[in-house]
């Protein structure tokens, strides 16, 4: 049994300890907002927060997560999250939307550590998440808007 804290809730998980966090979230806990896309840490769609830092959930084993605070798109809240979602809605950032949980988790981590990012900061941080629909211009605008620019 592995003890996990996800979105403020404690869970006891009975899976192979090397199972990637992604699949525990999706298949064991039913938190399907976190997406599977590449499985090799290239695309960023599976980004969650562990202790407030962005982590690729397909690249970490669930056993490493015991006792840590995990936040997924479903549990992302607070004034910064509200500002980001509002900006995403105002810019109509998503197209297909599949990568957007990863985009939003990455943006939230960026703005938490750098509330006033430059355009270069935004590009550097957000280049971690692929978007095949190419919503990059809209995401750039949404991050700027969420940062109050």
């Amino acid at each position: 049994m592995i003890s996990l804290n996800v979105n403020g809730q404690a869970h006891s998980i009975d899976v192979e300890p090397e199972t990637p966090l992604l699949w525990v979230l999706r298949d064991t806990l039913g938190l399907t907002g976190t997406k599977y896309c590449c499985g090799i840490g290239e695309c960023g769609a599976c980004t969650v927060h562990v202790q407030g830092k962005p982590v690729l959930s397909c690249q970490v084993e669930v056993q490493e997560m015991a006792g840590k605070q995990i936040t997924t798109i479903e549990g992302l809240g607070g004034p910064l999250a509200d500002a980001i979602r509002r900006a995403w809605i105002e810019e109509d950032a998503p197209q297909c939307g599949y990568c957007q949980p990863g985009q939003i988790m990455t943006a939230a981590a960026l703005l938490a550590s750098k509330p006033h990012p430059t355009d270069a900061d935004i590009d550097a941080a957000m280049s971690a998440v692929l978007c095949r629909c190419g919503t990059y211009p809209q995401i750039r605008r949404a991050v700027r808007r969420a940062a109050g620019r």
Partner: protein
């Protein structure tokens, strides 16, 4: 309890009430409180005047959308068209993806499917009519309630107002009355000057679900008692399972079954991770066709280079091409090559199936409900009516989800398992088993007069025709199984609108030769050769290969005749006013001819796709290592009436990103009979730090709207390649552009 419907037309009652709750509801919730996805199957009363509109006693209007939502914005566009003519506030509008039903056939395809940028232009008239008729019906209901003349009543914001007395009734108060009246025929449609919704940047209906993470995609579907499977496909194209050693895999925790299916080997487990770990432990030996083992990009290329020396089928032959070349003062010629391309949908192919009590339920992110239903019925051994298709959101489509290969294998597996099964492909299976955008080998030649005028244009194209595969997919859904194959092939020409092009080579060469340019003598030849690599439609289909070749070659001609690439195109477009307008608009907005910062150079290109014209100017620099950086792309678009300018902009800028991946990043190459690439490390997609600034301008128009989802792709590669030539003097004749070719 089924929804209680106040039905106007019995057949819609049967259809909609039977199907209520199966479609994907796209909630608006704009500015509302906690996020929630309301289900269609509530128990409230609803007025269902036709197949497209449902008005609930909660005052909400639900628009049935005959297309899949893969990010192109069709749910929002459809709802906007209805909101306009029905006079309802945006906050009151919802959209629902229609279930598989003949009422929702795409008239451009003869089947219920999404593709070819047909969504808006095939919905425009029908939704306006449906909404306007409903509005007139509600006016009639109010007039009858008050005993006044209908012409004294007006629809305003979900209310009918009796103007002389200022009395009003909300739509929800008129449902019962309206249900007793006939649906008005030939309703009056608004003029463009009266539009309050069309042409405005209304917020998309699906954004909220997508930013909270509760939008449901195929991979998110859960059915009670469901097993999760993954499929190992033959590594070599055309391979078949010879033997399976699953002894190690079956010892692994949570693994239920390892079994052969038609498409390969299925590994069934309690969840995806266990299935995919077990799949790595399964040892499969495969039989593969001998000739496929040697298949490679180099061999295909060499074969096509030989074929290109032979004459192809003349799909266009206009004027006197031979004599024009004989009399030419100068001949310009070149060979261009394009690789196979993967779709790289972010959501890997997947499908969930449950077969029980003679009914087959399918939850699938599909662009093709019609073929999904047909193939599932065939594999499950059920009638088409016993197959219910529940379309989820699509995590990318781009043409890949027009195919139904992943549906067939999931149905086969669910039938064998006698349990609900969700099949998810790994990313590697997804890329290696894609139905690729065909590679091609294209020779072009132009005859120039002494003054540089183009006297003749000749284009010979070698490569597979993805329309063959589209027809393969569509025919079973349209023509019954018992029809013998030769008759079927013939009949499909008549039955499938697209077939009338598909069966000739003409469609495969749409726009090849010229794009609206006034050239008297033109010949286009096509040599259809499929080396055995699965191909299919890829965003913008044929246009991506033709636009690159034709628009790059136009710049080669301009260089050979000392002309400005913009001016030469402008002069040649004297008979193509739409293209000429977008060309001029893009050039003006980009400041064509003005000075740029040191090291930055411009390229221009244009294309049209089913009535939508686009021109682009790219600003590009190339560093000392040959690395191309695209700084800015200015696009001008004429897509007729713009429904939502934000969606038009997003589709064009998204198309540019999609096109740039193929232009400067990635390709699929074949070696030893298999795709060499398998994930985003070796098939890299464009990242944000590589995305140029994009400006999109639309030409004001009151013409009927045309599609916008695909045309953003084709002009990108030639515009960038033309800018690269301006920057380096080196002509790009194959993609993706490789730094080593530019130094």
């Amino acid at each position: 309890m089924p929804e209680q419907i106040v039905d106007l037309q019995r057949r819609y009652f049967l259809k909609v009430s039977a199907l209520a709750g199966v479609g994907l509801l796209v909630g608006c919730g704009w500015g509302a409180g906690a996020p929630s996805l309301s289900k269609a199957g509530n128990k409230r009363q609803a007025l269902v005047p036709n197949a497209w509109i449902r008005i609930g006693e909660d005052d909400l209007v639900t628009v049935m959308v005959k297309h899949s939502e893969m990010g192109q914005g069709i749910t929002t566009a459809s709802a906007m068209i209805v909101a306009e003519e029905l006079e309802v506030d945006w906050q009151k509008v919802r959209a629902e993806i229609a279930p598989a039903d003949p009422a929702y056939k795409n008239p451009a395809m003869g089947i219920q499917a999404t593709g070819g940028s047909t969504g808006v232009h095939t919905s425009w008239e029908v939704l306006r009519q449906a909404a306007a008729a409903t509005r007139e019906l509600l006016v009639a209901a109010a007039a009858s309630t008050w005993g006044v003349a209908a012409k004294e009543c007006r629809a305003v914001s979900g209310t009918i107002v009796h103007q002389p007395t200022s009395r009003s009734l909300r739509y929800r108060q008129l449902l019962e009355k309206a249900a007793t009246l006939p649906l008005p025929q030939n309703p009056a449609l608004k003029s463009h000057e009266q539009f309050k919704v069309i042409g405005k940047p209304f917020p998309r209906l699906d954004t909220r679900a997508k930013v909270y993470g509760f939008a449901e995609y195929g991979t998110d579907v859960r059915v009670p008692g469901m097993l999760t499977a993954t499929v190992i496909h033959p590594p070599v194209l055309g391979g078949r399972v010879k033997s399976i050693d699953a002894s190690e895999a079956l010892k692994m925790p949570g693994v239920r079954h390892v079994l052969p299916i038609t498409a390969g080997v299925a590994v069934v487990a309690d969840d995806f991770w266990r299935a995919s770990k077990a799949a790595e432990a399964v040892k499969v030996s495969w039989d593969a066709p001998e000739e496929n083992l040697r298949l490679s990009t180099e061999r295909i290329r060499a074969h096509w280079a030989d074929l290109a020396k032979t004459e192809g089928k003349r799909v266009r032959d206009q004027g006197s091409v031979d004599s024009a070349f004989a009399a030419a003062a100068k001949i310009v010629e070149a060979v261009y090559e394009l690789p196979f391309q993967a779709h790289g949908c972010p959501e890997p192919m997947n499908c969930t199936v449950q077969i029980h009590d003679g009914v087959c339920d399918i939850w699938v992110p599909t662009q093709n409900q019609g073929s999904t239903q047909a193939i599932a019925a065939k594999v499950a051994g059920l009638g088409v009516d016993a197959v219910r298709v529940h379309t989820t959101f699509l995590g990318g489509g781009f043409g890949r989800r027009f195919s139904v290969d992943f549906v067939a294998e999931a149905v086969e597996l669910a039938k064998q398992m006698k349990a609900p099964v969700k099949v998810i492909w790994s990313r590697e299976e997804d890329i290696r088993n894609d139905h690729f955008r065909p590679a091609s080998y294209q020779a072009v030649r132009a005859a120039l007069a002494a003054d540089g005028a183009i006297k003749a244009f000749w284009h010979r194209l070698v490569g597979p025709n993805e329309v063959d595969s589209i027809v393969e997919i569509l025919v079973p859904a349209i023509i019954p199984d018992w029809v013998p194959r030769p008759i079927k092939n013939g009949a499909s020409k008549a039955v499938i609108p697209v077939g009338k092009y598909a069966m000739s080579a003409k469609y495969a060469t749409t726009h090849a030769g010229t794009v609206g340019y006034a050239i008297d003598n033109v010949r286009v030849e096509y040599i259809n050769d499929n080396p055995g690599v699965p191909v299919g439609p890829w965003r913008a289909v044929y246009n991506t290969r033709h636009a690159f070749v034709v628009e790059s070659f136009m710049d080669e001609i301009a260089a050979a005749s000392g002309k400005d690439p913009f001016q030469m195109r402008y002069d040649l477009l004297k008979n193509a006013p739409k293209l000429r307008t977008v060309l001029e608009l893009a050039a003006t907005k980009a400041g064509w001819g003005t000075r740029l910062p040191e090291g930055i150079h411009r390229g221009i290109a244009l294309d049209e796709f089913d009535g939508t014209s686009v021109a682009m100017v790219a600003e590009v620099s190339v560093n000392g290592k040959g690395v191309v950086k695209v700084h800015r792309i200015v696009a001008a678009v004429d897509c007729g009436t713009v429904i939502n300018p934000k969606i038009v902009e997003a589709q064009i800028s998204g198309g540019i990103a999609f096109g740039l991946t193929a232009t400067i990043k990635s390709a699929i190459t074949i070696k030893d009979g298999r795709a060499e690439q398998g994930n985003f490390h070796d098939f890299p997609l464009l990242r944000m730090n590589e995305m140029p600034e994009v400006e999109v301008y639309t030409v004001p128009s009151t013409a009927a709207p045309t599609g916008i989802g695909e045309i953003g792709v084709p002009p990108v590669a030639p515009a960038v390649a033309n800018a690269v030539a301006a920057a380096t003097g080196k002509r790009v004749r194959s993609l993706p552009i490789r730094p080593r070719d530019l130094i």
